[in-house]
Symmetry: C2
Subunit: 422 residues, 2 copies
Amino acid sequence: MSELKQMNHANLQNLHDKAKEAFEAAKKENLSLNMARGKPSPEQLKLSLELLNTVTADNMDDHFSVLNYGMVDGLPEAKELFKELLEVNTEEIIIGGNASLNIMHDLISKALIKGVIDSDRPWGKEDHVKFIAPVPGYDRHFTICEQYDIEMISVDMLEDGPDMDKVEELVRNDASIKGIWCVPKYSNPEGITYSDEVVDRLAKMETKAKDFKIFWDNAYAVHDLTDNPPTLKNMLEACKQADNPNRVFMFASTSKITFPGSGVAAVAASKENIDFINSQLSVQTIGPDKVNQLRHVRFFQNYDNILTHMKKHAEIMKPKFDKVIEILHSKLDSYGIASWTEPEGGYFISLDTMDNCASEVIRLAREAGVTLTGAGAAFPYGQDPRDRNIRIAPSFPSLGEVEKAIDVLCTCIILVSTEKFL
Amino acid sequence: MSELKQMNHANLQNLHDKAKEAFEAAKKENLSLNMARGKPSPEQLKLSLELLNTVTADNMDDHFSVLNYGMVDGLPEAKELFKELLEVNTEEIIIGGNASLNIMHDLISKALIKGVIDSDRPWGKEDHVKFIAPVPGYDRHFTICEQYDIEMISVDMLEDGPDMDKVEELVRNDASIKGIWCVPKYSNPEGITYSDEVVDRLAKMETKAKDFKIFWDNAYAVHDLTDNPPTLKNMLEACKQADNPNRVFMFASTSKITFPGSGVAAVAASKENIDFINSQLSVQTIGPDKVNQLRHVRFFQNYDNILTHMKKHAEIMKPKFDKVIEILHSKLDSYGIASWTEPEGGYFISLDTMDNCASEVIRLAREAGVTLTGAGAAFPYGQDPRDRNIRIAPSFPSLGEVEKAIDVLCTCIILVSTEKFL
């Protein structure tokens, strides 16, 4: 076998015809496989079922204040637990509801209406508001910007985080750039962990907007697949050391630790920022669901138990990641028509086809019963400029289904790629 | 005994001195009684403890979709349950998180940034945005307006709802008036239920702003204290009949049915409005806590059981309301220095002192260890123009504490009132 671009016409045609045949065969199987979203599998959800038994009618007699109004910034015991996950102290954290996305959305909408702690005026009163969007990135971050007419400026992800030369140049010269989205550990979709240097440069860089904010979505903080996971430098500490303590909002949640629908989300920031957020929060709510926070506190008890729990997740996830990588290697390695990441954690594998092939590959896969994340989803406005990125989410299907789905995906990639050369 | 204004100096002085003596005696008791907020008592919270046992590790095996992401607008079974409370169908309802205040806040903030369904432009792009605030009213509604620079125009509450002549005149002539806050059943703090006529006039009235919205906070929909409670006309139906189907957002929650911190909140509106809200909601969240919704579904099963449950709340609440009214009558009736409401449900009793007495009464009561809602809280910007309104929240303290607290309150009212005449 050789790279497609070096293949003669007969061999290309032969490869194409075989792929076509496999594709038609797959279609006849009436598959219905979904690798579109980073959803934990039922097997993973079972790991946390006992959490549902931690709070019962019999053990709440001393906890009526937990059942009642109050504690707008969360249960103190929950702060104690999650401060270790976020590497902050209890004054630097708010424990919220079931979704960190919701907290991020709220912070953006309040910034637009009222401004952040160091704004001269609300972001919504500026002529333009822009955010830096490292690409490929998380579609739901980008959708918030799109919804609120915040212009996104794409910056490429490199091996160790966003292209910092580019980021620094942009924020130094444009006061309308108010923020950047970051998934700093096992980035969505590439699985990249930001290097210490990138963390420090983000913390230190000169920004023309004095109210510039880093939205640090540490969604996969403990979602390691290996025994020696990469470490992420503490961004709040880096910001403090750079004399920009109020620059970062850090987010985490248990959505992919316990239950996606019924987890606990948290935001961490400087005490000054947290006090500011709390003053706004009390306008909006009389308190989060503290009972569910207590369930998490009782289930985990301490941070070490969270790490032990995550190893059980890894035992389920790792074989799926391995299977995807294995099949991609065996089916595509020699052809030079695709490259992919091999993350040590997180929920995704990012695959690049040749230019201008991804949407057709995704369309064909769907025709054969395999749903992948929509083409362009990982880019602002859903536009992948090279139409080559495909996000693979192997968590939800069973191992057998993953194998089948990736097999179909490879067939579609070969089919579309050979057609480009024929 | 006679009215204070007809009392001679000696009798006044005597009354004052006795009140002073009682006040000083109360201070020595080192009381610590809180009637500031509408918090259910521990006894009430116990009524719902079994709810915590309805979802366990053992009975969720068929419900992995409830534990996972999705169902942004709520669990279908929860819609079935709460549609009866809100008197709508399942297409007209969204089941959310633990706080209806949060949903209201979100709708206001999105209206400011994006506009509501029938807006030409975001409310935040208008020169002025105003809301009508029936007074006295709910402080947390007013705080949202204050936070977001929405000017409030006070309109007096009459026996059967806001002064509709005034409301109609205002909204007919001022395009910047975008909405009105209503607590239509057992209003906070007076306990007034809007008459059918008021409901119809609100639904029908001509508004200069075509995107005028009624925020219908039906917080006490089933919180009756009597066997023959007043009925509230269905506002969404009235709006449909008046050809203004998109005029109203109706809110309810189980905060004071099950647990204030861990209940379930809902918003109901026309299907068109609900579709519009859902399209925005999916930007902000991947779904509410459906497990807690399932707990409520399993605990209540049907609407009749909610009503039965509320009778148990009434058995706890009614004696406290009765005690407050009884003491107010026995201590203050003859003096002509205070009037108060005698609600058939809800969480509050509203008391008016003579003009310019309320803040001093509240200050003295606090000095004697009885915390009441802050003076002016029931008015926009915390300013009671006549400084006479005191909100009494008898739910949280025990019956004995209620008795003691109201006794102290009456003492303070007599003390401050006699000083006005002396």
